[in-house]
């Protein structure tokens, strides 16, 4: 997670909004950029986006909660994402998830207390031929085994 001072959040938001027009169809791209910059969508940011697009705050909140991509709490520095696609499921993804949960001590949708790791499951990465698949930040790991989890995530605490 990037912890930013209030002024920094404001500066980043201004920067993002400066290259968007105030049309409704810009809403999702703006929210995506805000999340990319801040790691999640703080309430104040959503309020500011609503004012910018002349939309009720409820509309912005409604859209952002509809899509699985958007997060409303700070996430960890490293994002661990596990595929729960059909091919991964059939090839043992549930065991990989168990191992990751055990290593990180968190469930999907959660972040470790030290804000190092976040864990998510994703519908399908489309790398089904290499199932099961795990993605850490932008690195895609194919043909996963519980042993490889240990190699990739290291010996993180087991609590």
């Amino acid at each position: 997670m990037i912890i930013l001072a209030e002024t920094e959040v404001k500066d980043k938001l201004d920067e993002i909004l400066s290259h968007h027009s105030a049309n409704r169809d810009e809403l999702i791209p703006i929210l995506q950029e805000v999340q990319e910059a801040l790691g999640y969508l703080p309430q104040e940011a959503m309020q500011k986006v609503a004012r910018f697009l002349h939309l009720p705050e409820s509309a912005v909140f409604g859209v952002s909660t509809f899509y699985a991509q958007f997060k409303f709490f700070p996430t960890g520095k490293k994002k661990v994402r596990l595929c729960r696609g059909t091919a991964c499921h059939v090839r043992g993804a549930p065991h990989i998830l168990e191992e990751v949960e055990k290593r990180l001590g968190i469930k999907p949708g959660e972040t470790t207390d030290d804000l190092e790791y976040s864990l998510e499951t994703i519908a399908c990465f489309g790398s089904c031929a290499l199932a099961p698949v795990m993605v850490v930040d932008d690195n895609v790991y194919g043909r996963m085994t519980p042993k490889k989890v240990a190699q990739i995530l290291g010996d993180k605490k087991r609590d």
Binding site: N23, R24, D25, E26, L27, I28, P29, L31, Q32, G62, V63, F66, Y67, A68, Q69, F70, R84, G85, T86, A87, C88, H89, V90, R91, E98, K102, I122, A123, C124, F125, G126, S127, C128, A129, L130, A131, V133, D138, V140, Y141, G142, R143
Partner: protein
């Protein structure tokens, strides 16, 4: 520069590379190649070339579809056919480059096959391999062959000549050509593409939109990703042709955010098109103008549905609405809109390049042309394939896919993702076309094909798909929102051994209600996995409900692990590795699992040395074993072992 000049220059560049006196090394760098380790392989190639002071052109190409053999590296030596090497590791690279480039030993032992003219002793032709021979590559014609980031390579291989031809015809004649080809929508439903275009063309209005649906959300499907990563211009040329035929001036490509490489390559492709006058106003000097924008999805499966996708582009919650009005009449911002899937667009450009008659010579009577499939699951040769419509499932699973690994028995093949169904061995002779798959209770879908073996529990698969559709239901229609939840609860109970005898009939009844009462295809097809598994595998449901037994030994709560006293040597490995501390034992003592403590993780079975084979997994039966650890010699032979 006009298009003829652009084309001549592109062809000259392509020929120059083919005739170059420098070797050419191509690395498969689609997402799947990268996941398999193409990055370190590429680094090793560069390092080895530098070390030997060798000069070579290096190109990163898309996916040729042999995903099981990733990472793939191809080497072309001047005047020789291209050789494909599979399962390449960074460790092999120095030796391979030294052997072939310096000592002229093509390393037939590492090669998969050759591409292009000429033979190399000991290496078969790549397209004669069992996986590739039955395939016909139309949509995937350039994937893995050309550099997807170089528009010139696409043009040199016939690219944008389809657009050139379309622009020489009237829009109506282009629609006729597409109708004549017999092309049907490749996103799943199979609606005739030419007809869809005609509706939109005839809709009154000056502003019209076209959309490329690249929101490939079916778990188990990656055809569109591979196509966009491997040959984005094939899709974009199709969109230009469609825009001309329909009269659209604005367009969107709606791509999943989970496909960053596809998005990156699309952005680059759009930039290159603009530089060549293939995008924007008066394309190639004609009256066609088209502006294209990329919209990234935000993680909602339902946005693959046309009306939900349009809502999402407009910046709203992606919820479907009732039809009519159809998008062709009132779509994006109320204007006539035409949506086609990635693969459909790639077929359009091929049809205009080579003609409707050529295209319709492939396929079956009602399903013309080819279909791409993402072959995955319990199959030897996983990958991306393109086959003529009408080919049998058996040919796909056994000839192309090479059958089931580990000598296991084929159980089912799942087509159409969460909207499709599981087809058993008795349906393997089924021809793959829209009508036959629908009649068998499944659907063509977008092209996911997941193979399951005897270790896959069919009830668990139905539960898995329902958990997916239930979570992705947008919540607008009550039967979909609540019906799928009820169905999921029942399936979870059955997998836990808490199913009731009446559950099967109730599931069938609920399935009909959910299908009938949902606005869009998500709810309309969500029960398909349940219906087909009950239709073809009813006895597995009954075993779970009546005997509390999982025949595939997969449902955790219905299985038990036992240590056979006549086989256990008291080595203590299982005791040491058991994460639940559920195993009691001692040196030279028969170990015993405490069934109350056991979490059924299967670690003991995995770690028990093969030569002992003392741990067994059973379902629906109890095995008689000692209650406490006993000395190894004292254990009596087990009667049930």
């Amino acid at each position: 520069m006009n298009f003829t000049q652009i084309k001549n220059r592109a062809i000259a560049e392509w020929e120059a590379q083919r005739k170059s006196d420098k070797p050419h090394i191509l690395v498969g760098s689609a997402t799947c190649g990268r996941a398999a380790g193409a990055g370190p392989v590429l680094e090793a190639i560069k390092a080895t070339l530098a070390q030997h002071n060798l000069e070579a052109t290096i190109t990163q190409v898309g996916c040729i579809g042999l995903c099981y053999a990733e990472p793939l590296v191809d080497i072309v030596k001047p005047g020789r056919p291209r050789i494909s090497y599979g399962n390449v590791t960074p460790e092999i690279i120095p030796q391979l480059i030294e052997d072939y480039l310096i000592h002229d030993n093509p390393r037939a032992d590492l090669a998969l096959g050759t591409l292009g003219e000429g033979d190399i002793e000991g290496i078969p032709k790549l397209f004669e391999l069992p996986m590739l021979k039955p395939q016909v590559r139309i949509a995937l014609r350039n994937c893995g062959i050309i550099d997807p980031e170089n528009i010139n390579q696409y043009i040199a291989n016939g690219g944008y000549s389809g657009l050139e031809r379309a622009l020489s015809l009237s829009p109506e004649a282009v629609i006729e050509e597409i109708k004549k080809s017999g092309l049907r929508g490749r996103g799943g439903a199979g609606f005739p593409t030419g007809l869809k275009w005609e509706f939109c063309r005839k809709s009154p209005g000056t502003i019209k939109y076209i959309i490329c649906n690249a929101d490939e959300g079916d778990p188990g499907a990656f055809m569109d990703r591979s196509l966009l990563e491997g040959d984005p211009h094939a899709v974009l040329e199709g969109m230009l042709i469609g825009a001309y035929a329909i009269g659209a001036t604005e367009g969107y490509i709606y791509v999943r955010a989970e496909y960053p490489l596809a998005i990156q390559r699309l952005k680059l492709a759009l930039q290159q098109m603009a530089e060549y006058g293939l995008l924007g106003d008066n394309i190639l000097g004609s009256n066609l103008s088209l502006h294209l924008k990329i919209k990234e999805g935000a993680g909602a499966f339902v946005c693959g549905e046309e009306t939900a996708m349009m809502a999402s582009i407009e910046g709203k919650r992606g919820m479907p609405r009732s039809r009519p009005p159809f998008p062709a009449q009132s779509g994006l911002w109320g204007k006539p809109t035409n949506i086609n899937n990635v693969e459909t667009w790639a077929n359009v450009s091929a049809i205009m390049q080579r003609g409707a008659d050529w295209y319709s010579s492939y396929g079956s009577e009602k399903s013309k042309g080819t279909k791409t499939f993402a072959l995955a699951g319990k199959i030897n040769r996983t990958g991306l394939i393109e086959v003529p419509m009408g080919i049998s499932l058996e040919k796909i699973v056994y000839d192309i896919g090479g059958g089931i690994p580990g000598g296991k028995r084929f159980k089912a093949v799942q087509t159409g993702g969460p909207s499709g169904g599981c087809l058993p061995a008795s349906q393997l002779n089924l021809p793959v076309d829209y009508e036959s798959l629908t009649a068998a209770g499944s659907i063509m879908g977008s092209g996911g094909m997941v193979v399951m073996d005897e270790d896959t529990c069919i009830v668990d698969v139905a539960r898995y798909f329902l958990s997916f559709t239930q979570a992705e239901s947008c919540g607008k229609c009550v039967p979909c929102r609540l019906g799928t939840k009820q169905m999921l609860d029942m399936l979870e109970n059955i997998c836990r051994g808490q199913g009731k005898p009446e559950d099967i009939d109730l599931l069938l009844e609920l399935s009909q209600r959910v299908k009938a009462g949902s606005l869009c295809a998500l709810g309309g097809t969500a029960p398909n996995p349940v219906l087909t598994t009950i239709r073809y595998f009813r006895e597995e449901y009954e075993a779970h409900i009546k005997e509390k037994r999982c025949p595939a030994l997969a449902c955790t709560e219905l299985i038990s692990y036992y240590i056979l006293p006549d086989k256990c040597q008291g080595c203590g490995i299982c005791l040491r590795d058991c994460p639940a501390e559920a195993i009691a034992g001692g040196k030279r003592m028969v170990h015993v699992i405490d069934q109350d403590k056991c979490i059924k993780c299967g670690t003991c079975l995995d770690v028990c040395p093969e030569r002992f084979g003392a741990v067994v997994k059973v379902s629906g039966e109890e095995i008689e074993v000692p209650k406490e650890p006993v000395p190894v010699a004292a254990a009596k032979p087990n009667t049930q072992a």
